[in-house]
């Protein structure tokens, strides 16, 4: 890494501004499939890497955006801590910046929170080439607008992330996975019944006829929960959850369009045809289907959710359409951060 990789990135942004060049902010390039088509000259954040500060007793880590997610996870694991939102990496080269910009969270999300819930602060470059810091490295901070969380899931359309501070959590003392043989409807009901009880559940997944449930906590807590839940214990389940998070499970070997459907968790079985994998107590449903986007979205609108064309399908129409006034706010914010519109133009919505 060069002496001042942040300055290099700032200079690159300024040059792009001067020459009116669009930039495609790129980390490990493992999630380029996600969102509308990338356009622009690559701006490689991987030159800006390394952990800046990590103090286990503060539960906070600060790292440069180009740091490999794997390196961060390893460093945390050495101190028995973790990124509790379990970000999918979709490849060894995945970076922290990419994980935050995409805003995707893994199996533990409903129980501990999403990426945005763990972001405490960012240092970023806006579309004027300015080096800005928002939030901080403390748990509670309400000084100024919460720009740090606004960057999560913004797909790099508002700025280039430089450094990111995250809250981390201790890894559970123990984990145990149970499996139940049940159909889709019954699995939804069971997940919802359990979610209403004070049980140490930390992940659920139903696919085919099998419902997997992960428990996390102290040994006594897990033994007590197992008594309540029944089911069969699965050996070597870490691999199962990792494969699920990384979409290496057989379900994801698909020819059809893969839809990521986010709904209120108690929503009954969706009235759309196609194989469905359920996570998050019912809150996240992966659907393989080639039926028209409009038809899927109309169904999902009715249950108060949204549908993303995660892989495959029409690359123009990836994200659920926004209410007109909300889209206007998006465009206004885009202008506020990136007046020349050089960062990842159109990656999220047309004009954003």
């Amino acid at each position: 890494m060069s002496a001042d990789s942040a300055q290099e990135l700032i200079d690159a942004v300024k040059r792009a501004l001067d020459s009116n060049t669009n930039l495609c902010i790129t980390g490990g390039n493992t999630k380029s499939f996600y969102g509308r088509d990338p356009v622009g000259e690559p701006l490689l954040t991987t030159i800006h890497h390394g952990i800046v500060n990590y103090e286990p007793s503060e539960l906070v880590i600060t790292a440069r955006s180009g740091t490999l997610l794997a390196d961060i996870e390893l460093t945390l694991a050495e101190q028995k801590q973790m990124l509790a939102f379990e970000p999918p990496s979709f490849g060894k080269q995945a970076t922290l910046g990419g994980a935050v910009a995409c805003g995707l969270s893994g199996p533990r999300r409903p129980y501990v929170g999403a990426v945005r819930d763990f972001v405490l602060g960012v240092r970023m470059i806006n579309g004027r080439g300015e080096d800005l810091k928002f939030g901080g490295q403390v748990m509670k901070n309400v000084a100024g607008y919460d720009v740090s969380r606004l960057m999560v899931g913004a797909l790099g359309t508002l700025g280039v992330l430089l450094d990111i501070s995250l809250k981390v959590l201790p890894t559970p003392m123990m984990e145990c996975t149970l499996v139940f043989e049940v159909g889709h409807t019954q699995a939804l009901e069971l997940q919802n019944t359990w979610a209403a009880k004070p049980l140490p559940i930390s992940a659920t997944c139903h696919v085919g006829e099998l419902l997997h449930v992960r428990l996390s906590g102290s040994e006594k807590g897990i033994i007590a929960a197992r008594k309540q839940l029944g089911g069969e214990q699965v050996q070597g389940a870490d691999e199962f959850w990792c494969n699920l998070k990384e979409h290496r499970h057989d379900f994801f070997k698909q020819a059809e369009t893969l839809w990521r459907i986010s709904v209120p968790p108690a929503t009954p079985a969706l009235n759309v045809s196609g194989p469905c994998l359920v996570e998050w107590n019912g809150g996240l449903r992966w659907l393989k289907s080639d039926i028209p986007a409009q038809s899927i979205r109309t169904t999902i609108d009715m249950v108060g959710g949204h549908a993303t064309m995660f892989r495959g399908g029409d690359s123009e129409n990836v994200f659920h359409p926004l209410q007109q006034t909300v889209l206007t706010l998006h465009k206004n914010l885009k202008t506020a951060f990136d007046p020349a519109g050089i960062f990842n133009p159109g990656r999220m919505y047309e004009g954003v």
Binding site: G113, R116, V138, L150, H330, N332
Partner: protein
């Protein structure tokens, strides 16, 4: 720094009459307040040192009326200050002389509870505690519990991103709200967030949370409800040194335990609260820690044993596990009544709200002690130790000339200290009017300009709670001229006026 009431100019009075009469075409006659005696209760919020009479107060009772009021103000360039219960501690609801106070007090209904999805849709004027009371029979509760939860309302909680005693484990307001409906300055009704766990587009919900009424008026909130834990137990431990207590906090967390609540009080706080509630606190201790563990009975038993061990290794002088729920409540009662307890021993007090990295606790505490001597003002410290949020209470008497000013200076010095050690000027009370000048220290010109650009994206005319939360660069330049920080002038690149 304080704003005292002063005589009004005649043009303001005629403007008041005109605006009141116009607004009475939108809402019922008695829902517009324009007489001085009826405006007086709205002149300040929980930060009573700052007072200002608004032009008028309007209390709509439908969303449609809110939209009409906002459109009227937008068309006529009248500033709007939205107000919930007025319990805020940073002057965020301080009225503007030529502006309207839009009270959401009549929006006090729980609209619906979704037992299956564990959510509740509530109007913004519903009190924080009322949500938990409404859903208690379902075994559910709303987690964020600011100490004003009996009175403060959810709309204000979202506007301020309120915290509470259980943030470390259960998060702030931003972690516990799913969807809000806002009225924009143009009068449009917009839904932000969703009942699912995420929503498409930018995270506008996070941006709105804690935006202190500068971006929109919240007219409906969908909150996440949690299942009440089966069991909760609290350990109280005394220490003969505040730094040891601080280390004990770090040790608990390093041991992989995230308590439901982890609070600290210094000796001054222990003594005043013990006198008030007789909770059985150790009045000789330099500091006490209250550590609550919740979950299933098995987990709690496990964690209690682990925490006991950590506390022992951290050198406590006394330790006690509350023997039943009554004693647990008693242990908490002292901490929860710290503010009224201080109110008994001092005519006035000023509550600060900085957050610091936990590891700096010891050094920050001794510096606060030094400052307290230097300014000759007593300071009582209560502390959300788990998440590093300090609440030093500065005791003063507003009737003694110069004491309020000295108090504010001491408060400012404490905030400087928080920034210096890598913390922030406000953990949960907001910037409002109170800490506006300190924003100039925490953020530089470019960052403040970016904040103004965000404001511009929502409110081009700058009518929503203007001049709060984010200072103008001009204000910072003036403040910078007075406030020399570490021998360096802030904003050297800005023209001085």
């Amino acid at each position: 720094m304080s704003i005292a009431p002063k005589a009004e100019n005649p043009s303001l009075q005629s403007q008041r009459a005109r605006v009141a009469s116009d607004l009475r075409r939108v809402v019922a006659t008695d829902s517009v307040l324009d007489e001085e005696e009826s405006l007086r209760p709205y002149e300040c919020d929980g930060l009573s040192a700052y007072r200002r009479l608004p032009l008028v107060v309007v209390l709509p009772d439908t969303v449609d009326q809110v939209q009409q009021v906002v459109r009227y103000c937008h068309d006529n360039d009248i500033p709007i200050v939205a107000r919930g219960a007025g319990t805020g501690l940073s002057g965020g609801a301080l009225p503007i002389e030529d502006g309207v106070v839009l009270s959401l007090a009549k929006f006090n209904k729980v609209i619906s509870v979704d037992k299956d999805n564990r959510t509740a849709v509530v109007q913004p004027g519903v009190r924080n505690l009322a949500i938990s009371e409404t859903v208690s029979h379902l075994g559910l509760y709303y987690a964020p519990d600011p100490s004003s939860q009996i009175a403060c309302t959810i709309g204000g909680n979202v506007a301020e991103n309120a915290g509470g005693l259980h943030c470390l484990k259960y998060g702030l307001t931003v972690h516990n709200v799913l969807e809000i409906k806002i009225v924009t300055i143009e009068g449009d009704l917009v839904t932000i967030g969703s009942n699912a766990l995420d929503s498409p587009g930018y995270d506008l919900l996070a941006l709105m949370t804690g935006s202190e009424g500068l971006l929109g008026i919240i007219v409906e909130v969908t909150v996440k409800l949690l299942t009440k834990p089966d069991c909760a137990k609290v350990i109280m431990a005394s220490f003969d040194d505040i730094e040891k207590a601080g280390n004990a906090v770090a040790n608990i967390i390093t041991a992989g335990i995230i308590p439901g609540g982890l609070e600290m009080m210094d000796n001054a706080a222990i003594r005043v609260t013990e006198d008030f509630v007789h909770a059985g606190y150790d009045v000789e201790a330099a500091a006490i820690l209250l550590c609550e563990l919740d979950g299933t009975p098995e987990e709690v038993d496990d964690e209690i044993e682990r925490v006991k061990l950590v506390l022992e290794q951290s050198g406590y002088t006394q330790m006690q596990v509350a023997k039943d729920d009554n004693q647990r409540q008693l242990f908490w009662s002292g901490r929860k009544s710290a503010f009224p307890a201080v109110g008994r021993i001092s005519p006035d007090y000023y509550c600060m709200d900085g957050t610091i990295p936990r590891k700096t606790l010891g050094s920050v505490m001794s510096k606060v002690d030094e400052l307290s001597r230097q300014y000759d003002l007593r300071v009582v410290n209560v502390f959300h130790a788990g998440d590093g949020n300090l609440h030093p209470l500065i005791l003063y008497d507003g009737n003694v000339e110069g004491e309020l000013e000295r108090t504010e200076e001491l408060g400012g010095a404490i905030l400087d200290l928080c920034i210096e050690v890598g913390g922030t000027i406000t953990g949960e009370h907001g910037v409002g009017m109170e800490k506006i000048d300190h924003m100039c220290i925490q953020f530089d010109t470019l960052e403040l300009s970016q904040f103004h650009a965000v404001k511009q994206a929502f409110d081009t005319k700058r009518l929503l709670n203007p001049d709060k939360a984010v200072p103008t660069l001009h204000r910072c330049a003036e403040f910078g001229a007075m406030h020399v920080h570490k021998g360096q002038l802030k904003f050297p690149d800005i023209e001085r006026f």
